[in-house]
């Protein structure tokens, strides 16, 4: 009997060790997302809302996953340099200006984009700091 108990404890321990060992990629993704949320609350939520619902016709929602996918290379530019051109989101046109968030570093931008593009019904996976650097070179 004692043997069985000891063995099952041993087995559970091994299993939980294996289970808790996420790959380093997953850990990095989780860290990006959770830091991204803090940045979102601080800089984006006022206009775009706690659930990415936007604000009337003043600020577009962040729930249009097609828009976010098609414009993924431009998202870093929108954040860093602001946006002044009309955008069609969820079939509606938004004309208001988006302010610049020049104070954000590339890592902040990467984290907040990772958060937004994997929340509010979006599921695009990781968006890394290096991609921000690249995308910012090609701003329209």
């Amino acid at each position: 009997m004692r043997k069985y108990i000891l063995f099952s404890i041993y087995l559970t321990t091994i299993c939980s060790i294996i289970y808790s060992c996420q790959s380093s990629d997953e850990i990095e993704f989780a860290a990006y997302k959770s830091n991204g949320k803090d940045i979102y609350v601080k800089y984006c939520q006022n206009c775009h809302g706690a659930n990415g619902e936007g604000l009337g016709e003043l600020a577009p929602p962040l729930t249009d996953s097609v828009f976010l996918k098609e414009n993924k290379q431009q998202l870093a530019c929108f954040i860093k340099n602001g946006a002044n051109q009309p955008m069609v989101v969820n079939g509606k046109t938004y004309h208001e200006k988006m302010p610049t968030f020049n104070q954000l570093e590339n890592i902040d931008i990467a984290q907040v984009i990772t958060y937004v593009t994997n929340t509010f019904g979006n599921n695009q996976g990781m968006y890394k700091q290096e991609t921000v650097e690249n995308d910012l070179k090609n701003c329209k």
Binding site: N46, G49, L55, G56
Partner: protein, 215 residues
């Protein structure tokens, strides 16, 4: 025997507590006050309390119409100070206030008054655009434009809200995000931080209390 005694004690306490809770709840009245002695028709002297009230004003609204305090006669209203290009607290304040606006859409006794503190840029046409895009462009929600002197004085002296030009802040102005509750007698009955959901919930509750009060 001891048990009976304690049961009775408990009963008495709970009756007292229930009794304390009943009776109409009213909101406090804010601002300065003074006692004045008045004589009634029979010549008997009485002491009355004179409360601080919002003084008369005249501003251009989003339709470029000059409005005065008369528009708010017999209304309970929520006032605030904001500007259209504000990217910090204003969107959050107006998102929350819009929720209350939707709740009381069919109640003619409730109105809203948003003063712009950006006297350089927020002309009536800009306010109109903002109100339309926020989705609240009706008579119930007035957006007003006035001179810096008028608006800033009214904010600080009457609505007890701090507003100022500020070159250090990214938008050029700093101000407090109070949503100020004014009763039908132009008295200030509450101020709530419009960026905090729990304070806005309190405003909703107090607004219902104030309407039930009838003042």
């Amino acid at each position: 025997m001891k048990q009976i005694r304690s049961t009775i004690l408990l009963l008495v306490i709970s009756v007292i507590m229930v009794a304390c809770n009943s009776g109409n709840k009213t909101l406090p009245i804010y601002g300065e006050r003074e006692a004045v002695i008045t004589k009634d028709k029979a010549g008997i002297e009485r002491v009355d309390t004179l409360y601080q009230t919002i003084p008369n004003f005249s501003f251009l609204n989003q339709d470029s119409v000059m409005i005065t305090q008369d528009l708010f006669k017999g209304k309970v209203y929520v006032a605030d100070f904001f500007f259209t290009s504000c990217t910090t607290i204003c969107p959050a304040m107006h998102r929350n206030l819009k929720e209350i606006y939707e709740d009381y859409k069919s109640n003619p006794e409730v109105m809203y008054l948003s003063h712009s503190i950006d006297f350089k840029y927020d002309k009536p046409s800009v306010l109109k655009n903002y109100a339309t895009k926020l989705g609240v462009d009706t008579k119930k929600w007035q957006f007003v434009y006035g001179s810096k002197d008028d608006i800033y004085k009214l904010a600080e002296k009457s609505y007890l809200t701090v507003v100022a030009e500020d070159n250090d802040s990214p938008d050029g102005y700093m101000h407090q995000g109070w949503l100020v509750l004014i009763d039908k007698q132009k008295r200030m009955r509450g101020a709530y931080d419009g960026t905090k959901t729990e304070q806005v919930a309190m405003l909703k509750k107090d607004l219902a209390t104030l309407l039930a009060e009838g003042n």
